[in-house]
Amino acid sequence: MMNLLSQLDTDYTLLLKDKAVRENFEREVGRHDIVVFYDHGDERGLYAQGGATYIVDKKNNHLLKGRVIYTLACTWCSDGGIDTWRKGAKVVWGYVDVFGFTLTDEKLFEECANYGLIAVLKEGLSWEEALEKAKKKFDEAIKKARDGWSIVWLRHNRDALVCYTENNPPKTSRCLFRRFLIWLLGAKRAWQVRFAKLISLILTCVGYGIALHDFAHNVWELKGTIFSPEGGYIGFSMMAVGIVMLAWSESQH
């Protein structure tokens, strides 16, 4: 970590050891655009010192809205990282599986783990470009590794590395329906669908259909035909135009 910070030459707040607790994170996070977390984690969150609680979990990850979170914590990006990105984090960089390394080739693992941040802050790459180059950095490290076991885990870490951004959204989700939408619409469009809006649109359309059918049936009982110049039809037409306009304006955001 200190090696990485010395390479970046930037202002930072260090939360080491006993300072690495939730309260300190929540107090300091507002002052920084980038949060770098080099410690353990799991699907749900990033561990606080001691591993008994979380520094970041689904209850406070909204604090990362508009910020970059860069971590090598194991498996966080398989769920917690996705949720953080969904709640507005600008960039979520991390791993969807456990991070493994050997001491034999520790330097190579370190270079690969740090590379994304250096590529963006020092080389001026975009996060998407940095991800691509970081994967290539792992490929280079695989060729340089002295231990065959290192090759296995460099390959493993490379494949587990992800970077969620606006242009590179998660390709999967724990939610079955979201996975179906990703398959159907592609990741970028699928993540724009909000369930509350989707359900409200379905309810509105079904309710509209039932009401229109009922009205037409009453007209048929009174006049013997459903085709009759009634004020109700004008009202239904106006509502239909309104629903289409609302759906269109929502899709523009």
């Binding site: 353990h40 591993g51 194991c74 456990v98 991070f99 493994g100 390394f101 050997t102 001491l103 034999t104 490929d139 695989i142 231990d147 065959g148 076991w149 090759i151 296995v152 885990w153 390959r155 493993h156 494949d159």
Partner: protein
């Protein structure tokens, strides 16, 4: 087949020196503790074998 791969993996780990360390998540293994876990924990053994197979496939895939 996977048992054959496991035997090769085990032999490879046994051939490491005593100072050899492998860190996976929050666990630190030396060659003895890694073999011990693989012997006892079938799920972990399967996971390791899968990773070795994925690496072999990756290395043999033309880039």
């Amino acid at each position: 087949m996977s048992e054959e791969i496991y035997r090769v993996v085990k032999r490879y780990i046994e051939s490491r020196n005593d100072g050899w360390r492998f860190i996976l998540g929050d666990k630190v293994y030396d060659k003895h503790s890694l073999i011990e876990r693989m012997e006892k924990d079938k799920k972990f053994r399967r996971y390791i074998i899968e990773e070795v197979i994925k690496t072999a496939v990756d290395l043999l895939t033309p880039k």
